[in-house]
């Protein structure tokens, strides 16, 4: 049992290492798109590893709650990342005009005929509000 506890402690420390890497990414990366990766992917992994340290305690209520929180993180992490990325995309379009986000050139968001800069910036270019 003692060895299992120590292994769980090591998992917690590795998770904290990932959280530190995420902090480093938030400080060092130049733009929000890259910071989203550090904040979403690496941070979720680190926090899940920290919570996995509950297995070392060997107590049912602690393990159950930790598993519940890990599941919640798996749901909430991608959702918040998507929401922030979506809001950033809209804010950027409103501010700068009509350009695609970096890395999105493989999936153009509108037909080629309507891609003049500034056209349809104020209104939704898709002609519909998917805001729900």
């Amino acid at each position: 049992m003692g060895i299992v506890r120590l292994l769980a402690d090591l998992v917690v420390l590795v998770g904290l290492g990932f959280l530190t890497l995420s902090l480093l990414g938030l400080v060092r990366f130049p733009d929000l798109w890259r910071k989203l990766h550090a904040a979403a992917i690496v941070h979720s992994l680190g926090l899940m590893l920290v919570l996995a340290g509950a297995l070392g305690t060997g107590e049912g209520p602690l393990v159950g709650r930790a598993v519940l929180i890990i599941a919640l993180l798996g749901l909430a992490g991608p959702l918040t990342t998507h929401l922030i990325a979506h809001a950033t995309l809209h804010a950027r379009r409103d501010r700068e005009g009509d350009d695609d986000p970096p890395g999105d050139s493989a999936h153009p968001r509108r037909p080629a005929g309507t891609s003049s800069p500034g056209a349809g910036v104020a209104s939704n270019p898709d002609g519909k509000e998917d805001d729900g």
């Binding site: 995420s22 919640l72 918040t80």
Partner: protein, 93 residues
């Protein structure tokens, strides 16, 4: 040093480390260059605080701290979702 003592020391180190991370994320949130970047930083700040509470829960073997962790994760998600939605509707934050 017995395994039990080593276990306690490791968890206390982890707690201090998590607290230092919370301070680091707080600095990142304060120094953010745009509103949405600050939203992101506050989101991960809340989640890191949840991780600190989790470490405290493991160290003290107290379930109530994990309940606080759960509430913090939920609040962080709701707050970030609301802020991002507001920023999207207003075009800025």
């Amino acid at each position: 040093m017995t395994l039990e003592a080593l276990h306690r020391v490791l968890l206390q180190v982890a707690g201090l480390w998590a607290l230092a991370l919370v301070a680091g994320y707080l600095v990142v949130a304060i120094r953010a260059r745009s509103g949405l970047e600050r939203v992101l930083a506050v989101d991960v700040l809340g989640l890191t605080l949840a991780g600190f509470f989790a470490v405290v829960a493991f160290e003290r073997k107290e379930v109530a701290y994990l309940d606080g962790t759960l509430a913090l994760v939920l609040l962080s998600f709701a707050g970030t979702a609301a802020a991002a939605r507001l920023a999207r509707l207003r075009g800025r934050f």
